[in-house]
Symmetry: C2
Subunit: 435 residues, 2 copies
């Protein structure tokens, strides 16, 4: 078998055999394929796509490219959740303790963020001394004791994906549905959860900008998971505005704690409850979504969710005092208020531009391995449908320099569209693909 023939076969729109895909993934993993051949293959896939069978094979080969995590020693149904990435999307920090607090184990391996803000790991690391390096054995011990662990991926988790992801990022081949699906699901499958709730974001701040695309990706990912015996629910949720009001690393930790304290309502809470309820449903801990949502909301009201979050911090070395004193979290030097310049109804937010504003503050990474400014970010003061008066505070920007604040502020002003009449609000939950 010859990689050039395989590249040309895909380039010319033909379906690859399982053997050809195995050959490719093996060559990626053992280093026998040259990076330039891998990237040419990825670009060919970008244009010619892969069908469900090809994508399933790619996913499984990538999952098996390293060690498969074995969490069978943790009693009960292990639920995991994955988001395709949106702005101010802090649901993990909220739903993981809530779900764990009712007795369903949450063993979550997270990644670092690339783009507008950090990932879950980055957010947790903004809490002084929080340690995300947890071994498989340690994770089992933690979960057996507290039902919760949030950790970085083990080094040999789906190494083929690590290699492909790094290459895609620097070769313009990120936005490919089969490659996104295989990347996400290979890690989730390798990471050993019994059930996975996928949060596929759709809208101006997401990879998938149309419901059609989002459904396609969600459907393929769900198929991949079920194909290998995992229970999967895919929720397609709106990303036509940031999910929460806080964007950044320590800022999103603050908002998550506020939600867990019961101080914040709204879209971030709602999506966290929906996703968490579906995790409970997969685990057969509840029999309807409504029952699940009510149960989780109760865990906020009775303080159990926050208590579990505190347990998580204690377990992994994080400073629990941050819960009551946000000033213990990193904060950027400069702050700038962005004022409304035109009155009217806030009818549209180009959420990708808001994400770009966050990148300007230093809260996100423009390239892999970049240091984040944990204290940087944005607090939005307005949501879609709000009426804006000139001079209202639209957002607060936090960054290391005035210049960065100004640059971020400009992106935010560019991102919004106001109008005299109030537009229709986009739906928060667009579709749910369950078993």
């Amino acid at each position: 078998m010859n990689i050039v023939d395989i590249i040309i076969k895909k380039r010319d729109g033909n379906k690859l055999t399982n053997e050809e895909i195995q050959f490719f993934v093996k060559g990626v993993t053992d280093g026998s394929l040259a990076d330039y051949q891998i990237s040419a293959f990825l670009m060919a896939v970008f244009f010619q796509k892969m069908d469900v069978e090809e994508t399933a094979c790619l996913t499984m080969e990538m999952a098996k490219s390293g060690g498969m995590v074995d969490f069978t020693d943790i009693a009960g149904f292990k639920a995991d959740k994955h988001s395709t990435g949106g702005v101010a999307d802090t649901t993990t920090l909220i739903l993981a303790p809530l779900v764990a607090s009712v007795g369903v184990p949450v063993v979550k391996m997270s990644g670092r963020g690339l783009g507008f803000s950090g990932g879950t790991l980055d957010k947790l690391e903004s809490i002084p001394n929080f340690d995300i390096s947890v071994s498989e054995e340690q994770a089992i011990a933690y979960a057996q004791k507290t039902n919760i662990v949030i950790m970085g991926q083990t080094a040999d988790l789906a190494p083929a994906d690590q290699k492909l992801y790094a290459l895609r990022d620097v070769t313009g081949t990120v936005d490919s549905i089969p490659l996104i699906a295989a990347s996400i699901m290979s890690k989730k499958i390798a990471a050993g959860a019994d059930g996975i709730v996928l949060d596929v974001k759709c809208g101006s701040g997401a990879f998938m900008q149309t419901l059609e695309q989002a459904e396609l990706l969600a459907g393929i990912m769900a198929d991949m998971g079920r194909h290998v015996g995992r229970k999967v629910t895919a929720v397609i949720s709106g990303m036509d505005q940031p999910l929460g009001m806080y964007i950044g690393n320590s800022l999103e930790v603050i908002e998550a704690i506020e939600v867990l304290k019961g101080n914040v309502q709204g879209d971030l809470l709602e999506v966290s409850l929906v996703l968490g309820a579906h995790m409970l449903l997969l685990a057969e801990h509840v029999s309807t979504v409504e029952e699940g949502k009510a149960l989780l909301l109760g865990q906020i009201q009775n303080g159990e969710g926050l208590a579990k979050f505190k347990e998580l911090l204690l377990q992994q070395g994080g400073d629990v005092n941050v819960i009551d004193d946000y000033s213990l979290l990193p904060a950027s030097k400069c702050k700038k208020e962005i004022l409304v310049e035109q009155s009217g109804y806030l009818n549209e937010m180009n959420t990708a531009l808001i994400g770009r504003a966050s990148l300007e503050t230093g809260a996100g990474r423009a390239f892999k391995g970049q240091e984040l400014d944990f204290g940087a970010g944005i607090i939005l003061k307005k949501r879609l449908g709000d009426y804006l008066e000139i001079g209202d505070i639209l957002a607060e920007i936090y960054a290391e320099t005035e210049k960065m604040c100004a640059s971020a502020g400009q992106y935010i002003l560019d991102a919004i569209t106001v109008d005299d009449t109030k537009g229709e609000l986009p739906p928060l939950i667009l579709k749910i693909l369950s078993e």
Copy 2:
């Protein structure tokens, strides 16, 4: 400027600016771009193409990526010729001495072959002691004395093309019209000829399988050359059967000598005369193609062409005795006659399969840098339109082992289609795009 943005811009079907193309070629040349980014870009170009302006810019930047050869010290109009590559295409060895013998300097830089047989350099190197390593100064001295020099490319001729060509070959991005055009023309422009005759092959044994594709490539290449002040004629010639009857390295040398001796008529002679006549026309040495063809044919009849070929060998160290004694040329150990298995008119030859047969004998390269068997190859005994009787000799195969002979023979049998009624013969010269 950022290469990932440029890759994505092309990937999404947008036109690149000159600055972006310059940035790309500079990065290829100085090594600042990673190979995996270059190959992703090439695959994006494969799918999204480049328009004439983009291709012209790419061509010129590649031409300027190394030293531009300066042959102004050679008096007169310097004519060059380039073929896009076909089977049994030995025209250079015939027309170069013919054209030089009437007083028009031919200073030709050639490449090595990749595929079914060697390139002009490989063929010449099958002549004992022929030296293709000629410096620019030496080339000028040779041309001033004999009007002819055939040499390898200088090391820094269009280094960006050398790099891109090598990468394209191993990443499935060879068959792209703008990339082929830029590769050929960048070298021709850098190599300093005043006029270039392009022989664009079209048919089952060529890159370009339809007249439409061939015209597109020919038109773009001619545009590129004229854009920088070179006179260009593009001849589109048929490759629905091998041009000559001999395929291989020393075998093609023998056929070229036979043509120069006046012993061989037919398509190879005809195309050599047409291309040579257009070189004379560009040099304004003749005023019509017919006049040029008659002049060159006369140089065969009066022995001047063969004398010039002998001068070329003497000049560059080649053993001139081969001209009268072909047994001094390398010859393979085994010979096998392939007999006709089905009677009828020879109506079709899959010329790519004939090329593949040649590769099986060891006459061609499957990968860059592979050693050739100079003595290997095929002598065809039949042409399209011939009536075949069972038991007729279809071809003679020369190779190192019986097994290689048998394998090549099978490809030849697979390549031919016979029929009870005689089919139409494909045209030899399909189109000529002149100034």
